[in-house]
Every structure is written in C-alpha cells, then in structure tokens.
Amino acid sequence: MLKPVQFRYNENFDPDCVLRGGFVAQEIREIFPELVQEIDGFLRVKTTELSGYVTRALDEHKKQKYGIRKR
C-alpha cells in the first residue's frame, strides 16, 4: 500500500528545504515499477501516470461507497 509522506529535500536539491507532500519513489517502484524512472542516479516518479492510477482508485472507491453503477 502506498504511504503518503511529507519530507524536505536536502539542501543540495532544494536550498529552501520546503516541506512537501508526496511518496517515497522506492516504495512506488515496488508496486508500480513502470511509474518510476532513474535519471542520473535519481529516482523520478511519473506524476501524470500516477495521477491516472489514483483517479481510477478514487472512482472505484466512490462506486463501492455510494453504489454508483453505470446504466
């Protein structure tokens, strides 16, 4: 199960150390390896694709919770 987290990048990556929300790329890679790519030693999450998965999960959740069915 994906664990939403909050974190701050180290100062080399973000000098302002802004608090951010997101996920741990390594955890996403274990579940959805196709959503994570490694570039120059850094793992990057394909946000747009992840958004698709979350949207689908949200739709499923709504269907289950509210009993919405296609006619």
Partner: protein, 153 residues
C-alpha cells in the same frame, strides 16, 4: 584479494536498543550519506588495512558512528538501515574501532548502498520523512498524496 558479493543479510537495525552484542550499534552518534558512483568497494578492517573488495553498482556511500558492546558486523555484511529513503540495501565496507570503556566501544561503520539515493543527513534525518500531516497542497504530487491519504481512511 578476497572478492565478496554483498555478503549475507542479517537484518541489522542500527541504533535499536535491546539487540545485544553482535547486532550492531546500540547508541548511534552520527549518520551521514552522500552520493558516489563507485562501482567497487574496498573493504577495510579496524586497522585501516584493505582486506577485500566488493563488486557492485554502489551509488551511495555513508558512515555510521556509535557505541556498541560489540560489533559482529563483518566486512561485506549486508544490512537494512531504517532511513526509509530507499538506501535500504547496504554493504558494510569499513569497520573502525576507536575509544572504549568497560562496556562499549566506539565504532565507525562505513557502508555503500546498491540503489541510487540522493540524500545528506545527520542522525536526525530519519525524521525528515514522516507520514503526511501538514504539508502544503501546492503541487500535483502533494495533491495526489492527500488524495491517497483520504482514500485510505
């Protein structure tokens, strides 16, 4: 020269109390990691002598210092640290002992991770990543994180 391939995993948790002798460090005093792109790790014993070599795809190197009643951490040992940012699979590449009293010896352990990780931290770094609570919803990823969080309630 001995060539080892990562060694045997034995599930060491640094800084965890109650592990007793032979399980690593009881009191962690510092912790640091940084990126490297070495593909070979030289194993060094407590006197600094090179005793072996690990061949791998290491991208991160780091050091943990702390006190323990003993260190059974052998060179090449693979362990899982609890930093939680992906550098979970590491090999101990150097063990150095310095200063001791009756019960504890100060050890410095260097390690290399196999997976790509970019982080620099001190002993408090493990608190940098925590469950989503109050991060601003100011980008797509944080918005997704909150959505998933709400779905899981």
């Amino acid at each position: 020269m001995t060539i080892e391939k990562y060694g045997q995993a034995n599930d060491i948790d640094f800084g965890t109390d109650g592990k007793g002798a032979g399980a690593g460090l009881t009191i962690v005093t510092s912790y640091s990691v940084e990126n490297t792109y070495a593909t070979e790790i030289f194993l060094k014993d407590s006197t600094g002598a090179t005793t072996g070599l690990i061949q791998g795809d290491a991208r991160t190197t780091g050091t943990i210092t702390g006190y323990g009643s003993g260190s059974s951490v052998t060179l090449g040992t693979e362990f899982n640290n609890d930093l939680g940012v992906g550098d979970a699979s590491c090999a101990v590449s150097s063990v150095r002992a310095s200063g001791s009293n009756e019960d504890f010896t100060n050890y410095e352990l260097s390690f290399n991770a196999f997976a790509g990780v970019s982080t620099t931290c001190d002993k408090n770094a493990k608190h940098d990543i925590e469950p989503l609570r109050n991060a601003p919803r100011n980008d797509e990823m944080s918005e997704l994180a909150y959505l998933v969080s709400e779905l899981q309630r």
